[in-house]
């Protein structure tokens, strides 16, 4: 949405923090320049990781009093890039730089039926949407899948608000989500909005295409922060620049290249646009494609990658989680 994506940076004061599930912290912010956050919108936050400035995107879970109180919820992922660890240290009274709400994931009013699908922390993008659909008395189902109840934020509140319209799947209770069944329940005028791990979203995309449903009715937002593998440290070589650099677990390949002085082009930095494309010359390991820019055909060809989100990993098999002995190595050409 070109119109509403002008970034307006401002200070936000933390007014409330609290745990809402294992490793999930709810943070309520009072922005200086409040505007109401539409369903599907997120804010970008400037975070500090090892003294380095970076930004993270968080869905707005609740927007109250015309946006004077914005709630977000942050999952602490020990293996991720450190932004969430910073966010978990925030206390009431702290100030941080945030954008006014940005919209990449608008909810359209007017579909005959809605399915909202949340995997884990992805629920944060769905809460606001579900509330609006309920208020408008539209036909909707909120599907919420997680590993265990303790790890699923807002479960009780959602149960209370949405009753029958909420369907919960919990892995460790033996009621995992069956993607095929879910997609089979969609009709041609159903819109499905989803947010969750890349595996889940990929499975839904495939099932949606196979069911020959209308592709634009499948809506999702990706921040490029979930992959097929756990992130590992790996080595990038750029022969033309004489570079050999290590990409840490909590760093992206694009950032590592920039830090090493490579003049890199980029656009979205979240795996959508393909502007950060690099060509793969040699690979010792596997590429964990975390973008939504390449088709499956292009991803399996392993000739190019979106270096803002995608990584090299050692595991040849999705199921191995043995600790790597030597890091993966990818040799690339940059434009």
């Amino acid at each position: 949405m070109a119109a509403t994506n002008t970034e307006v940076w401002q200070y936000g004061t933390v007014v409330e923090v609290g745990s809402v599930a294992t490793n999930i912290q709810r943070i309520v912010l009072a922005p200086e320049l409040p505007v109401n956050a539409e369903p599907g919108s997120h804010i970008d936050v400037r975070v500090r990781i090892d003294g380095r400035e970076d930004r993270r995107s968080y869905s707005v879970v609740e927007s109250n009093e015309g946006g004077r109180r914005l709630a977000i919820s942050v999952l602490k992922t020990p293996l991720s890039r450190g932004g969430s660890i910073f966010m978990h240290t925030l206390q009431p009274g702290d100030q941080l730089e945030i954008t006014q709400p940005l919209q990449n994931f608008p909810l359209r009013v007017g579909a005959a039926r809605y399915i909202l699908l949340a995997g884990g922390i992805g629920i944060t993008a769905m809460i606001n949407m579900a509330r609006i659909l309920k208020n408008l008395r539209l036909d909707y189902t909120l599907v919420y899948a997680g590993r265990s109840r303790a790890a699923m934020a807002y479960l009780d509140e959602l149960q209370q608000l949405h009753g029958e319209n909420l369907v919960v799947h919990v892995d460790d209770e033996g009621t995992p989500l069956n993607v095929r069944q879910l997609v089979a329940s969609a009709t041609t005028d159903t819109e499905l909005y989803m947010c969750g791990p890349i595996r889940l979203m990929d499975a839904v995309r495939r099932a949606w295409t196979e069911a020959r449903l209308n592709y634009p009715n499948l809506r999702y937002e990706t921040f490029g922060n979930s992959g097929w593998y756990q992130p590992e440290e790996f080595i990038v070589k750029v022969p033309t620049l004489g570079l050999e650099i290590r990409v840490g677990q909590d760093n992206s390949m694009l950032e590592a290249l920039e830090d090493a002085g490579a003049d890199m082009m980029f656009g979205c930095r979240k795996g959508e646009c393909g502007l950060c494309e690099v060509r793969i010359l040699e690979l010792d390991g596997t590429i964990d494609h975390r973008d939504v820019f390449y088709s499956t055909r292009q991803q399996t060809a392993t000739t190019k990658m979106a270096c803002c989100v995608s990584r090299a990993v050692t595991s040849k098999n999705l199921l191995t989680s043995d600790p790597p002995t030597a890091p993966a190595v990818v040799t690339i050409a940059v434009p």
């Binding site: 949405m1 509403t4 015309g66 634009p216 809506r219 979205c268 959508e272 939504v292």
Partner: protein, 364 residues
């Protein structure tokens, strides 16, 4: 710019426009398979019809490099193709094809605005789409009722929309601006009554036992050939939020009970006005003149349209000059008179709406 309280801005020379409302974007006949570009409430729109005839309104700027979609063409069942690099959007504003790559970027959307087609108009809602209730479209039923016949036009008026609303809420100007057609001395001499509720303002004026001005004499003779004599004349102006004004107008043979409710010895018209802000200083002024007699006469329809066209041309010239004078004298304020009561209530209702949207700010 800072927010100001409702009381003090009633006297602003020009007002901002609400967004959580329905505006007429176009006549139904204007929206076709050929995209139409029209700016409504500051937002450029591309308007088109899908293959099965549904009107669609998208932001007139492609997500990619903002090329105007209205310069593109409709494709497939409900798509529109950007004329620049060929991205195709459906009527919900979602990308369905990105020619230059194998996947579709999930962010590729343009805003799509709620649309209702009613009373021969295509209405759009530019504000919060979750509030876009079709029941809020203001009543203009005479436009497509079998009891009424008529037609209209669109005026592009280079002035703030509120100036047009002021104009229509106070018809004493007819005596001076429209002296050759509908103006007469009795207009400014007669009493008028103003009433209002939360969404409407009504100004009622009756003039008894007067000569019919040229426009009305002709209409009387269309219904009552050879008519001579005095008439009773009425103007009942009804404003409906946000910017529709329907004026019940007519004359009847004097003393035949029109005021009491029997209009059978007269002719009745409805002037249907929908004023759509385009920018702070311009608006689209959609009007039609509907009548409830000689319904089958296309000749009368045409004559009335041409007649009103002439009358409204006089208003257009004045409104253009008034906005120019406002701009040229930024340090002068309006003085509001008793005759402005209708217009002032309209301003009050618009302010309340702006206030409820948190958008009550003075315009430069």
């Amino acid at each position: 710019m800072t927010a100001v309280s409702a009381q003090s801005s009633t006297t602003n020379k020009v007002l901002g426009y609400p967004l959580n409302v329905w505006y007429v974007a176009a006549w139904d006949k204007e929206v076709t398979r050929n995209p139409l570009s029209r700016k409504v409430a500051g937002r450029p729109l591309a308007l088109y019809r899908t293959e099965d005839g549904k009107a669609a309104a998208l932001a007139d700027a492609c997500w990619h490099r903002l090329a105007p979609l209205s310069l593109g063409k409709t494709v497939g069942k409900d798509g529109i193709q950007c004329p620049y690099h060929g991205i195709v959007y459906n009527s919900a504003g979602r990308c369905v094809s990105m020619p230059a790559q194998e996947t579709i970027n999930p962010s590729a959307t343009v805003p799509s605005f709620p649309v209702v087609e009613r009373y021969r108009y295509v209405w759009v809602w530019l504000g919060d789409p979750t509030l876009a209730d079709p029941d809020l479209v203001p009543d203009m039923h005479q436009l497509d009722s079998p009891q009424w016949a008529g037609d209209g036009e669109t005026i592009y008026a280079p002035c703030n929309f509120q100036l047009v609303l002021d104009n229509l809420m106070d018809l004493t100007h007819e005596e001076f601006i429209h002296s050759s057609s509908i103006g007469q001395d009795e207009l400014s001499e007669s009493e008028f009554v103003v009433t209002h509720d939360d969404h409407t303002v009504t100004v009622t004026r009756w003039m008894f036992n007067i000569d019919a001005p040229p426009f009305w004499l002709k209409n009387m003779r269309d219904k009552f050939p050879g008519f001579e004599g005095k008439v009773d004349r009425w103007q009942i102006i009804t404003y409906r939020s946000p910017s529709v004004i329907n004026i019940d107008v007519g004359v009847a043979k004097a003393g035949t009970g029109a005021f009491e409710g029997d209009r059978s010895q007269g002719v009745n018209g409805f002037v249907m006005n929908a004023i759509t802000p385009e920018s702070d200083k311009s608006c689209h002024y959609f009007w039609a003149f509907m009548r409830n007699y000689r319904l089958d006469s296309q000749l009368i329809t045409t004559q009335l349209r041409q007649g009103v066209h002439g009358v409204f041309g006089e208003d257009e010239a004045m409104l253009t000059a008034q906005q120019a004078a406002i701009d040229a004298n930024p340090d002068y304020e309006f003085y509001n008179l008793n005759i402005d009561a209708g217009g002032m209530w309209v301003r009050r209702l618009i302010e309340r709406q702006l206030e409820s949207e948190g958008r009550l700010v003075p315009l430069a």
